[in-house]
Amino acid sequence: MFSRRFDMGVKIGGAVLGASVLCVFLVIFFGVRNTVADVGYRPEQPVPFSHKLHAGQLNISCQYCHAGVENSAHSPVPTTQTCMNCHTAVLPESPKLQLVRDSYEKGTPIEWIRIHKVPDYAHFNHSRHIRAQIDCKSCHGPVEEMGVVSQFKPLSMGWCLDCHRNPEANIVGARPISGVFTGQMHKVKDLLDSTYLYKPIPAQVAAASDLKDMVTPSFGQKQSPLPKYHVDGIPHPKKAGIGPENCSACHY
């Protein structure tokens, strides 16, 4: 019916269309999968716990509950004991806290549903980043405004590398509410103004004479002087360790 040449044209057209659909699929699959599929993940938790109430309104510091991020790879989700520090006295009868009380009495952990997770073949270490005075907000978003925590960043390899190559543009400086230690004193008057609590404070390098102190009463008693190279007070990842673009920094 059609000329051969025309038929050929249609076949090639079809192939090109197919190939481009495949390309689009691959780009979506490998490029934006994390962004589309993971960002915004907000499972319903067994206890209706609200960060907006506890961190945002009651001004409880992130590290009060997630204590130990300074020293360990993982940021601990609080034990039941931490909740009961207050909830033995605060709202001891609340039905919303029934599960917490049961867990406390029986000694079984509350099974919080995990939100942020990098695959098991990649290793992320919190302490390295917290000691570099990077605020939680850089990676977790404004958690203190979230009623239910939702994943804010893709946690893809590209995202890690974007910051390692260009930290200036991606880092939110430490804020008092996160409890990230900067070696800097705040004025108590400022702290009582709750807008100050949520503002990034300019990162500061401890004075040369103070660097020695850090070795004795250091973070969690680990010998750790402040890293030497700084971008506005934040150690530059390009100068750190084995280099943050080295595959074996994260895959080992």
């Binding site: 589309v36 309104q57 001004n59 207050c86 605060v90 103070d210 250091s218």
Partner: protein, 209 residues
């Protein structure tokens, strides 16, 4: 039927397929904009390996906890146990001796940081015990730490209160390292505006130390 039509038809079919795929994704709860379900994982190569990861379930143990509780009578490496109970106030005065943490600006800043993290929720940033929780009338009767009575407590006694707790105040021995506890005490003294005494124990017992 001409070729342009055919290409157009192919185009519409592809578009319809993409749309149908999108609808299926939404309905099956795989797009987090619309659902709270766990995101779908295609080809999860080695995402989930059979190894113990902190804070995750582990099918290897009957109780599914990957973090094991210590065997009775043992202590983890580096872990420091506070030996006194809440009631041992007399012993605390002699037992808690500052190991010589220097009182520099840097240590004070660390003390402020730890105070703001662990104490301010109940005692406020200024130690007047008037944080939002108290202003919202959720917990009343937390003592103002700047009152003379509290300022008169010795360093050793405050160290004891942080480590073992006092009545409704919980113990923070597992969360604050001993050095950080001394840093907190230095900082608390600046808020109280007093010098502080190391210990209130009778002189004779102090000599024994």
């Amino acid at each position: 039927m001409n070729a342009t039509n055919r290409i157009a038809r192919l185009f519409w079919i592809a578009l319809a397929a993409a749309f149908a795929g999108f609808v299926v994704m939404v309905l099956s709860g795989n797009i987090t904009w619309f659902s709270t379900a766990r995101p779908l994982e295609f080809l999860n190569n080695m995402d989930h390996q059979f190894k113990a990861i902190p804070q995750s379930g582990n099918t290897f143990f009957a109780d599914r906890a990957s973090v094991r509780t210590a065997v009775e009578g043992t202590v983890a490496r580096g872990q420091q146990v506070y030996p006194l109970g809440q009631g041992d106030i007399d012993k605390a005065e002699t037992a808690n001796v500052n190991p010589g943490v220097p009182r520099t600006d840097f240590v004070l800043a660390r003390g402020q940081n730890r105070f703001n993290v662990f104490c301010s929720a109940c005692h406020g940033y200024d130690a007047h015990s008037n944080p939002p929780m108290v202003r919202r009338q959720r917990w009343l009767g937390i003592p103002d730490l700047t009152r003379p009575q509290t300022a008169a407590l010795s360093d050793a006694r405050i160290y004891h209160i942080i480590s073992a707790g006092q009545n409704l105040m919980p113990s923070y021995a597992d969360k604050i390292t001993p050095v950080d506890r001394w840093a907190i005490i230095y900082y608390l003294r600046t808020l109280q505006g007093v010098q502080g005494v190391a210990s209130n124990a009778p002189a004779s017992t102090q000599q024994v130390q």
